[in-house]
């Protein structure tokens, strides 16, 4: 399949220059390179400009509600582990209303890839502060500039037990494609946080700004990506502003490996007919 076969012909409603375009293209390109059958690809998203991404894929796409892409995605994966499940959404979606789901999805470590399309602002609601907006950031709800400390997605992911954490940048598409491919191939939960500038409501963290501030993780790091504390240190030292695979733990067992029953029986395709013998077995406890 070509990259274009993963599109559905709709023109994204995003502003010209929005970082989200590149993420969509990267996902489509990755799918094409990995030759994922389109019917085996499930793309789940939340609400936000970012959330529209699922609607541009030729795949089984589910545009859920604000903050809930991960619970829906986990339900899909649990039902049918043969599907390749990709969840995607904005920084508000994943680190404000969806924080709890993000933490617990990471902890469960199902074989799902989660792409956070981070523009450090609420794009769809026309410019409101996000939990990852930098201090001083002026928005409609912070007219005097935000004073709260931003959350650090990388630290949070690692603390929640992430087995794969990477960061990409919309303007570095080739790297982003590789990161997404690594993430999908990683057998467990993988989070790819993408710096994806909002050209309309974030006039601070622009493409230019990221070009000036982003470092390559591989160049800066002192330890191997499998070194937990080393990766924490990398994030601390770069203030989170680096791209590449930040952390990968290849030994941590995925949900599917821990819960063998999920792997063995595809719930979605199993035969539901019940024999009398099984009925007797399940009602045994209640018989007298």
């Amino acid at each position: 399949m070509e990259m274009k076969d993963y599109g559905n012909g709709l023109n994204p409603t995003w502003c010209k220059g929005c970082g989200h375009f590149s993420i969509l293209r990267s996902l489509q390109t990755t799918a094409s390179r990995m030759n994922i059958p389109r019917e085996m690809l499930a793309v789940v998203s939340g609400i936000g400009c970012s959330g529209r991404i699922s609607g541009y894929m030729n795949a089984y796409s589910f545009h859920s509600v604000h903050g809930r892409s991960l619970p829906v995605a986990q339900g899909i994966k649990l039902a049918n582990p043969d599907l390749i499940v990709v969840a995607a959404g904005g920084d508000g979606d994943g680190f404000a209303i969806g924080t709890s789901h993000t933490v617990h999805a990471i902890r469960r470590n199902m074989d799902i890839t989660y792409i956070v399309m981070n523009n450090q602002v609420y794009g769809l609601t026309k410019g409101h502060v996000s939990p990852v907006s930098h201090q001083g950031f002026k928005t409609k709800t912070t007219p005097m500039g935000s004073v709260d400390m931003p959350l650090e997605p990388g630290l949070l992911a690692l603390a929640s037990g992430a087995s794969f954490y990477a960061q990409g940048f919309s303007a570095q598409q080739e790297e982003l494609i590789e990161l997404i491919q690594n993430a999908i191939e990683h057998p467990g939960f993988s989070l790819v946080q993408v710096f994806s500038p909002c050209v309309t409501y974030n006039k601070v963290n622009t493409y230019q700004w990221f070009r000036e501030h982003l470092k390559s993780a591989d160049e800066v790091r002192k330890a191997d990506p499998s070194d937990y504390l080393g990766s924490m240190q990398l994030l601390k030292e770069t203030e989170g502003l680096c791209t590449g695979v930040i952390y990968q733990n290849r030994t941590k067992l995925s949900y599917e490996e821990l819960h063998q029953e999920v792997k063995e029986k595809n719930l979605a395709t199993q035969d539901l007919r019940m024999t009398e013998a099984v009925y007797q077995q399940i009602t045994e406890r209640f018989k007298l």
């Binding site: 609607g55 009602t283 007298l288």
Partner: protein
């Protein structure tokens, strides 16, 4: 002779009161008796008084636990204090001799002190007091010592030899002591006819079994009283058939995960109670808008907010009926018996798939938690109707990406394509969408899609959903639902009044046509329910517009109605309207 025998066992929470009651109920049921219990407990783990009342009968299933007791077995003082006024004049009080008795309570009543604690302490540990209780009650109810020993072995066999031995020693001593001090209650002199095979379970268990039989293979949930047993039971059963439960981080996630799993093709459910139900409003709307079939159990307890977690109420109804923000089709089923818990759950999954909408199974605390002996639910292969699924021909004939998941059809139902199905890729969104599932806010499309979704379940309004009992007397119909039904039925059987009786099994879509017929047929419909506003009566009035025909009787103090209260209500309202 009495038709039935009612025993109350009371003690401190954590002393094994409930498990003692259940053991006894099981053993009696094996001997052919029917039993039904009702628990009174508080939302604390230990220390508070807890008691369980058990009504035992010989001929048929017990409809309702009696509020007057033939016997009280008190392991603590509160059990006497709180319940003596409900002991029948000829009833007997058995109590631990360690309890200080206030003469006033027992004045003129038969009471027997038993060395329950002493025996436990002497032959085992104090906490084996409940085994003393079994010894004594076993005697009263006419068990042989051998059967009791089997019971105790069953219960403690896996707790190590020492524990088992001590319990047996306690049992034996208590049984022997009882043999010399108490006699068998006359009710147990003749044994019931061992006619039918039986089962014992609670409503939540009947729902869990129904779900598995219906082909449910996934449940996501978050614990909450009185719904948790549904997940607990599925966690035990699923390994036998290949299914999965997930305890999520909260209810918002639980319903979203259920939606995801169902979307991907598994029959899926969740279960909760009021506080969780409110949080699941978001998911109900999403399932409604995306037309994803899901089954949600709401085991009602007393609200609002945290309310009274261990008390009976039926006050989520209005909320469930009127949904979250915006409007979508949903189905609400309301079982009144254990058999209905089972059957309606099987039904629920078929309805969900057929109408592609959320189906809510609404129960109440008493129905959810009360253990009952019932005639065996025998196996019959269930009809599993997965509803409309896109055929390969359709998928192959539609152009790439052109599968119309939300096709506008005559009856509003469109075929689904399950992820993994080639050619069926499509979009699903909580936004208003067109036939392809793509966002659209064009007014004509909006109207067409709203009509499509709403009309799906309209045919159900024409179908019956109320189950009648009686002789179609034509004067007064008493209508109720949930656990109140058993009590109403019992009251009705006793008053012998010339009125009829009904329970409503489907609340949404309301069986409007049937209701209208009933309103033509009866002079009055008296709706009995446990909530402040008379929620069912309100809904009926809203949908049928004949409020002069409907009288609402409500109660909202956390207790259900007793049989006597129901009888009085029947009396009064037959009077007042004659």
């Amino acid at each position: 002779m009495n038709k039935n025998f009612t025993l109350l066992i009371g003690g401190i929470q954590g002393e094994g009161v409930v498990s003692t009651g259940i053991s006894l109920m099981k053993a009696l049921s094996r001997r052919g008796y029917y039993t039904l219990s009702e628990r009174k407990f508080s939302s604390r783990i230990k220390g508070g008084n807890t008691h369980v009342a058990i009504t035992i009968a010989k001929k048929e299933e017990v409809n309702s636990v009696e509020s007057c007791y033939d016997m009280i077995m008190a392991m603590d003082q509160d059990s006497i204090h709180l319940n003596m006024h409900q002991l029948k004049p000829k009833g007997i009080l058995l109590y631990d001799e360690d309890i200080k008795i206030d003469e006033e309570w027992t004045d003129g009543l038969r009471s027997i002190a038993l060395p329950l604690s002493a025996i436990a302490k002497k032959h085992g540990k104090l906490f084996m007091k409940n085994t003393s209780v079994i010894g004594c009650l076993g005697k009263v109810t006419g068990f042989t010592y051998e059967v009791l020993q089997e019971m105790v072995t069953e219960a403690y066999g896996n707790k190590g030899e020492e524990v088992l031995d001590q319990n047996i020693a306690v049992l034996k001593t208590a049984f022997n002591h009882a043999s010399t001090t108490i006699s068998r209650a006359s009710f147990f002199d003749s044994e019931p006819a061992q006619a039918k095979k039986k089962m014992m379970m609670i409503g939540n268990e009947a729902i869990a079994i129904g779900a598995v039989v219906a082909g449910c293979r996934f449940m996501a949930g978050y614990p909450i009283t009185p719904a948790s047993d549904v997940m607990e039971n599925l966690a035990l059963i699923f390994p036998l058939v290949g299914g999965k439960t997930v305890q999520t981080e909260d209810e918002v996630a639980a319903i979203a995960m259920t939606i995801g799993a169902s979307h991907a093709g598994v029959r899926s459910m969740t279960a909760t109670s009021g506080p969780g139900m409110t949080l699941m409003g978001e998911g109900l709307g999403l399932a409604g808008m995306t037309e994803t079939p899901i089954v949600v159990v709401d085991a009602q307890r007393a609200g609002p907010s945290t309310g009274m977690p261990t008390k009976m109420e039926q006050s989520d109804l209005s909320f469930l009926y009127h949904g979250g923000h915006g409007e979508y089709a949903a189905i609400i089923l309301s079982p009144s018996t254990l058999q209905e818990c089972y059957e309606m759950t099987v039904d629920a999954f078929n309805l969900a798939d057929r109408y592609q909408c959320p189906v809510i199974i609404m129960t109440d605390l008493n129905l959810s938690l009360s253990a009952k002996t019932i005639d065996e639910i025998s196996f019959s292969e269930p009809v599993i109707d997965r509803g409309q699924l896109a055929s390969t021909e359709i998928l192959e004939s539609s152009y790439d990406g052109g599968f119309t998941r939300y096709q506008l059809t005559e009856n509003g139902i469109s075929a689904r394509a399950i992820p993994g199905t080639k050619g069926g890729q499509h979009q699903v969104t909580g936004l208003e969408h067109n036939e392809l599932g793509r966002p659209s806010d064009h007014p004509e499309n909006r109207k067409a899609m709203m009509d499509k979704r709403m009309k799906k379940t309209d045919p159900l309004k024409e179908r019956e959903g109320i189950i009648l009992e009686g002789k179609a007397s034509g004067s007064t119909l008493f209508l109720t639902f949930g656990s109140l039904y058993g009590t109403l039925k019992e009251a009705w059987m006793r008053t012998g009044k010339n009125v009829d009786l009904a329970r409503i099994g489907r609340i949404k879509p309301l069986p409007v046509k049937q209701l209208e017929t009933l309103m033509d047929q009866y002079e009055k419909i008296i709706v009995v329910e446990c909530n402040y506003h008379g929620q069912l009566a309100n809904i009926i009035n809203q949908e049928t517009g004949q409020p002069q025909k409907v009288k609402s009787i409500t109660r909202y103090d956390g207790k259900g109605f007793s049989i006597e209260e129901m009888m009085e209500i029947m009396d009064r309202w037959c009077q007042e309207w004659k």
